[in-house]
């Protein structure tokens, strides 16, 4: 019976866990409950990925109403893979959260923090699994509102202004998406994604549909922090509590990329998106600009979390570059990089959270000589950082390799050279942190700084080990990515 209701359970369990968490009162109990729920959701998403890889895409009708009249959840390989990523990051980050949240969030707000986390998890999972366009908007707002609340719980007063700016920009993005959905509904009369895909080609040349596409793409690009629309990301990630940054950096923008995939390839279709609307050159230019500008700005940051946040903007550029190639290989590279980036960035932000836990600051100048006092944490940081650069034997290398081969397959030599050059920029900003940690003498009048507690090190090493493991044995992510890319492009399985 569970197998038949998997999609609904995946959403309903964290949704019903959130008000229960609110009732639980004390912080410790709330943490234990949300960890339990995160692990349960991870198990369910794993089951769902296995089911999809074996028997192919399947649907679930909410409320028993058949599509296109009711809301249906549609699970194919792309969906199930992204769900697995979100659930996995949640499951890994929760055990870490106990110590980190104790340090960074005031005690009387812990219950509300975990409630907001469960709601955010529900929202992100809901966006990924649904097959109804308006449902995407609803879950998008659920996850966004709880993110704004979580980000505002950071210690620094700048967290408040960062959250406010994210709120303004995020709501504008979501409202643009709403306008796009409204115009699509007006022209076709349906909200179901599969039905939209069937009915849109008939009305393709009309202005409302083109306007709908434009509004939708801009709204989604705001949410995924594509180059000129990324201004909310550095501050929001830098000043939020470390757990929140690690969770959001690995999941929130990736889910928005999934929405882009779904609407560009499945709903609107390739021929409309890339032939009628010149999306390809736009995405290409913006993603390249994003990669270079963001990597360059990252080099000059003094706050390590802000540096990593700018690096995230650059990585989104790589992901969107894969999309602009419009080939199975390009999409495979893009989805693969979603996976590897989630793992690596998660590890990097968890490492910084551990440093903040012990040192109380994430300024590069305060990290001098920290590697002697926190060897394990900084070693994990180095390994994940090598993945970010794209050194062989890490996951990052695999996704960059696939990206470059996909670019060469299209025959765009200059772009491949640019991608390689940008990896050099990554070397610079990772080196800045590594140099300060390992090669600069620390100030010895610090408070006694020890290694981070085990509850923080274990999740950190799970993610770091994953970034290396999936650089060596790429079978699972590669298989899922290729399968997903093929389904998106409408070829083969």
């Amino acid at each position: 019976m569970i197998a038949a209701h998997l999609p609904a359970l995946l959403i309903a369990i964290p949704l019903i866990a959130a008000p229960v968490c609110l009732l639980l009162g004390r912080g410790g109990l709330a943490w234990a409950w949300s960890t339990l729920v995160s692990w349960l959701v991870f198990g369910l998403s794993w089951l769902m990925l296995q089911k999809t890889l074996i028997s192919g895409p399947f649907n679930y009708e909410l409320g028993g109403w058949e599509a296109p009249f009711g809301i249906e959840y549609q699970v194919d390989t792309l969906n199930a893979f992204i769900l697995l990523i979100v659930a996995a990051i949640g499951a890994v980050v929760m055990p870490y959260a106990r110590a980190s949240v104790n340090r960074e969030v005031p005690a009387h707000k812990h219950t509300l923090f975990y409630t907001a986390y469960l709601l955010c998890l529900t929202g992100l999972l809901g966006i990924t699994i649904t097959g109804d366009a308006f449902n995407v908007f609803v879950f998008l707002e659920i996850s966004s509102l709880s993110s704004y609340a979580m980000i505002a719980l950071g210690r620094d007063p700048k967290a408040l202004t960062a959250s406010f700016q994210y709120l303004i920009m995020g709501t504008i993005g979501a409202t643009f998406i709403l306008i796009g959905i409204g115009l699509m509904y007006q022209m076709t009369g349906t909200l179901n994604m599969a039905d939209l895909a069937k009915r849109l080609p008939a009305v393709e040349d009309t202005r409302p549909v083109m306007a709908a596409f434009a509004f939708f793409i801009i709204g989604v690009s705001l949410k995924l922090a594509l180059f000129p629309l990324h201004m909310w990301l550095p501050n929001a990630y830098a000043y939020a509590p470390s757990v929140v940054t690690a969770f959001l950096a690995a999941t929130a923008t990736k889910v928005s990329v999934y929405v882009l995939y779904r609407f560009v390839f499945t709903v609107f279709g390739q021929s409309f998106s890339f032939d009628v609307i010149p999306l390809e050159p736009i995405l290409l230019v913006l993603s390249l600009a994003g990669i270079f500008v963001a990597s360059a700005v990252a080099i000059f940051q003094t706050n390590v979390k802000r540096l990593l946040a700018w690096s995230s903007v650059a990585q989104i550029g790589y992901i969107m570059l894969g999309v602009s190639l419009i080939t199975v290989a390009g999409l495979t590279a893009s989805i693969l990089h979603i996976f590897n980036h989630a793992v690596m960035k998660g590890a990097l932000f968890l490492a910084m959270g551990a440093v903040y836990y012990q040192v109380g600051s994430v300024q590069i100048s305060d990290l001098n000589g920290i590697a002697k006092k926190m060897p394990y944490t900084m070693f994990a940081f180095v390994i994940a950082g090598l993945g970010l650069i794209g050194v062989p034997l890490t996951g990052g290398f695999i996704s960059k390799w696939y990206l470059i081969t996909a670019v060469l397959e299209r025959g765009w030599w200059p772009v491949a050279v640019l991608v390689l050059l940008s990896s050099l920029l990554a070397v610079f900003y990772v080196w800045r942190v590594v140099e300060a940690a390992y090669f600069k003498a620390g100030d010895n009048d610090d408070v006694e700084v020890r290694e981070a507690p085990l509850s923080m090190l274990v999740p950190l090493y799970v993610l770091t080990a994953a970034s290396v493991w999936f650089g060596i044995d790429t079978s699972l992510p590669l298989k899922a990515s290729t399968e997903a890319a093929r389904q998106l492009m409408g070829i083969g399985g």
Partner: protein
Amino acid sequence: MVWLGHFNYWIVIFLMMAGFYTVIARGNLIKKIVGLNIFQTSVFLLYITMGKVKGGTAPIVPEGGGEGLAYSNPIPHVLILTAIVVGVATTSLGLALIVRIREAYGTIEEDEIQEIEDKSS
């Protein structure tokens, strides 16, 4: 006079641009939230306008059956209800953040806040 028949849509565009301009151009945080609200209201108007059927009545089956009755599409109304709730939640969250910012910085003008942040970082 086709453009007079599209009166609703002109209002939608006017409100949308007014709201959007307010969000971008005003430095006072509360004015930004107000602008956001106006922007969202224009979208609600867009949806409701598209749901109206000429000569249509409420989508409820009256006594004696409703054969041949024209009714306005209820789905945009349902969508807008959800969007209004989302708008209320966003507004309250934004205002709560403004209260906290006022307590932390002493001001709610964006440029003054930027000054204080640049000095302290």
